[in-house]
């Protein structure tokens, strides 16, 4: 039994029922991605991309690995939120909308798992 009143449960949540959580996390991940992506692109383009050994040696360094894991995680989160809004806005059939939202969630979850696994595999072996 909860001591919270029904009003306190719904206040601030709006018609979508989730308040500003989606909007806010899109901004939080956007702010985090500014330094992460800028760092990654600038660092990556300073490497010899054709050399497996050079790339492996670069990505396997502890801090490079940690920042790249953060990058993969944050990119996936931001991408998932963005793709979700696009699907919700432009796909109008309920079945198609739900299917695509599920598919997007699964693809993003799979990409995070694969990306982080790949970095750990490089850094820890």
């Amino acid at each position: 039994m909860s001591l919270r009143t029904p009003l306190s449960k719904v206040i601030g949540r709006g018609s979508a029922g989730e308040g500003v959580g989606h909007w806010w996390m899109q901004r939080v991940t956007a702010v985090a991605l500014l330094p992460l992506t800028a760092w990654f692109v600038i660092s990556l383009l300073g490497q010899s991309l054709q050399s497996y050994d050079a790339m492996r040696g670069w990505l396997g360094q502890p801090w490079v690995a940690v920042l790249t894991i953060l990058l993969v995680f944050t990119l996936a989160w931001h991408s998932k939120l963005g793709v979700q809004v696009v699907i919700e806005d432009y796909v109008h059939g309920k079945g198609a909308k739900t299917t695509l939202l599920l598919l997007s969630t699964f693809v993003h979850a799979g990409a995070v798992a694969a990306g982080i696994f790949a970095i750990l595999a490089l850094a820890l072996s």
């Binding site: 956007a30 991605l33 990119l75 963005g82 990306g115 790949a118």
Partner: protein
Amino acid sequence: MNQRPLSPHLGVYKFMYTMSLSILHRFTGCVAAVGFLLFVWWLMALASGPAAYASAMNALGSPLAKLVLVGFAFSFIYHFCNGIRHLIWDTGRGLERAQARRSGVVVIVASILLTAVTIWFACRAFGLVTMGMAP
């Protein structure tokens, strides 16, 4: 239920170029989402060993793939620059019509310049051009 108005009814507005920048933000975001999957595929190729990485880099080296990579680079850079514009708007600044139009021009110019710089450095990282004394 089906008679309710749905949010983006694009046809009712007079066209302004700031609109196309806004639409481009969504579009480049979707392209960047696909680019993210390509990035993970590249990480997995690297984790799978020298042979897998060599064939992945070989696939990325074809002319068509290079063109696609330039598209991904522009999409990501535009979304990055225009994203900063959106974050500034979120603080309540720069929303006047003249300011929003000016920042739109800044974003377009910055995106094109940064894409050109990125292509140059990417060619170098791919080993397509060498800096300094050419052999």
